[in-house]
Structure formats: structure tokens, C-alpha cells
Point group: C2
Chain length 141, copies 2
């Protein structure tokens, strides 16, 4: 049982490295965006005009964190908060034309950066990792 103490260390260390690597490459390519902001941009591109609760759910961010990520993205003009017609408590998060153009510009380069981690692994490894991570996630829910 004690040996399982190490998986949490490896998981933490690896996800940190993956994020750090992407962030460094984003900087080198002069993408003016953080990795977490990219995740939001990507999700909005697939499904625009969500409210913050929906967006928090799909990105796996909690509400206060998402609030601050969106504050920063609004400042950059990538997204805007629009009033929600049916519910005055909500904001609709809208990916702007500027945001869309940036997403389109960056996405091929991001895919290339993300693929780097995978260069010494197989399709089977990818399927195994997905299954194992999702099983862990479910076990702790």
C-alpha cells in the first residue's frame, strides 16, 4: 500500500512539467495568453456564449478562478461579458471576433506543442493513460 504514495508525486510533477513546457513555448511564440486562458478560449471556440457556471464545469475551474481568468481575457479583448436575457444574475461569455481570430491563429501551433510530450509513446499508451486518469478521477469523486 505504501508504494502508492508515489503516484501522486509523479502525477503532480508531470502535470506541472506539461503546463510549464506549454507556457514557455507560448511565450517563445509570443502568444499573449496563459495555458489556462487557452483552455477557456478553446472551449468557447467549440461552444460560444456559455454562462460562467457552464464554462467552469467544462474547463474544470472553480467559479472564483474562472472569474479572474475571464477578467484577464476581457482586458485583452478576447471575450466579453454580455447580459443574459432570461436571468439577470448571469453573464453570457462571448468569444469576440478578435478572440476567434487568435484561436484560429494559435491552434495549429498549440497542437504541435502538445504533441511533443507524446513523441516516445504509442496510441495504446494514450488510451491507457486516458482510462487510468479517468478511473482515478472517478474513484475520488
Amino acid at each position: 500500500m505504501e508504494k502508492f504514495g508515489t503516484y501522486s508525486f509523479l502525477l503532480d510533477r508531470t502535470s506541472k512539467r506539461v503546463k510549464q513546457y506549454a507556457q514557455q513555448r507560448f511565450k517563445e511564440e509570443d502568444f499573449d495568453i496563459t495555458v489556462d486562458q487557452w483552455l477557456v478560449l478553446k472551449n468557447l471556440n467549440e461552444h460560444n456564449d456559455q454562462n460562467q457556471s457552464q464554462l467552469a464545469e467544462v474547463t474544470g475551474k472553480d467559479h472564483p478562478t474562472l472569474t479572474r481568468i475571464l477578467d484577464l481575457m476581457c482586458k485583452k479583448g478576447l471575450v466579453e461579458r454580455k447580459a443574459c436575457a432570461g436571468d439577470r444574475r448571469s453573464f453570457i461569455i462571448h468569444l469576440t471576433d478578435f478572440g476567434k481570430s487568435k484561436q484560429k491563429e494559435w491552434v495549429p501551433k498549440v497542437d504541435k506543442i502538445r504533441a511533443k510530450a507524446w513523441e516516445n509513446l504509442t496510441e495504446q499508451d494514450y488510451q491507457d493513460l486516458k482510462r487510468i486518469l479517468n478511473t482515478i478521477y472517478e474513484s475520488l469523486s
Copy 2:
């Protein structure tokens, strides 16, 4: 290639959940410690009296982060900074008797908490995960 965009999300989401789960259980058990502080405590218990650079290396923390983790652990009396005889730039981080007793008290419960994530997986899964995570880590180094 585009499909590999999801592994980073799953990795981030799962390691966050693992950390969050452990932290919640630590709180429930009234361990007065964070998950990152625990990692330092555990490493010092295995090898006491390291300097901060060594400790940063084995815990995978960068130096500024470790400095702040140790500041908090010093306040709680778990560790102390001692002058290093041969090098006045360094501090030797010493796990106190109090720190040792707490480590001993908490370690069986921590192992149990850590094992929870693994309840629906096999030994082979464990070996695969270790190998895949280490391969990713190396590919991005």
C-alpha cells in the same frame, strides 16, 4: 495530432483532484499540514538535514516555492533552519523531534488516503502509469 490536446486537460484535472482529495481528508483528520508540506516532511524523514537546493530537487519544487513552504513549516515547529558549517550561504533543514513525531503519527493514515485513488485499478495499471508519466516528463526535459 489534435486529439493529444486532451491529455493535458486530463492530467491537470486528475492531479488537481488527487491533491484536493488528500487535502480534504487531511483537514477531516485534523492534520495541521498542506499536501505540499507533507511531501517535504516525508522526504526529510527519509533523509534528514538536507539543504534547500537538495530538498527542492527531490520534492520537485522550485527554490522560491520551497522557501515559502519551509517558512510555514518552521512556524509550526516541524522543521528548523540550521547554519551550514561549510557554506554560509546554505541552511540545513532539520526535521525536529516534533516533526518526526507528527510524521510517524500521520504516515499510516496518509498511505490509506493515497490508496483510495487506486481502488479500481490493477498493479499493471500502476506500472503503466508510472512508465507513461516518466516518459512524458523526460520528453519535455
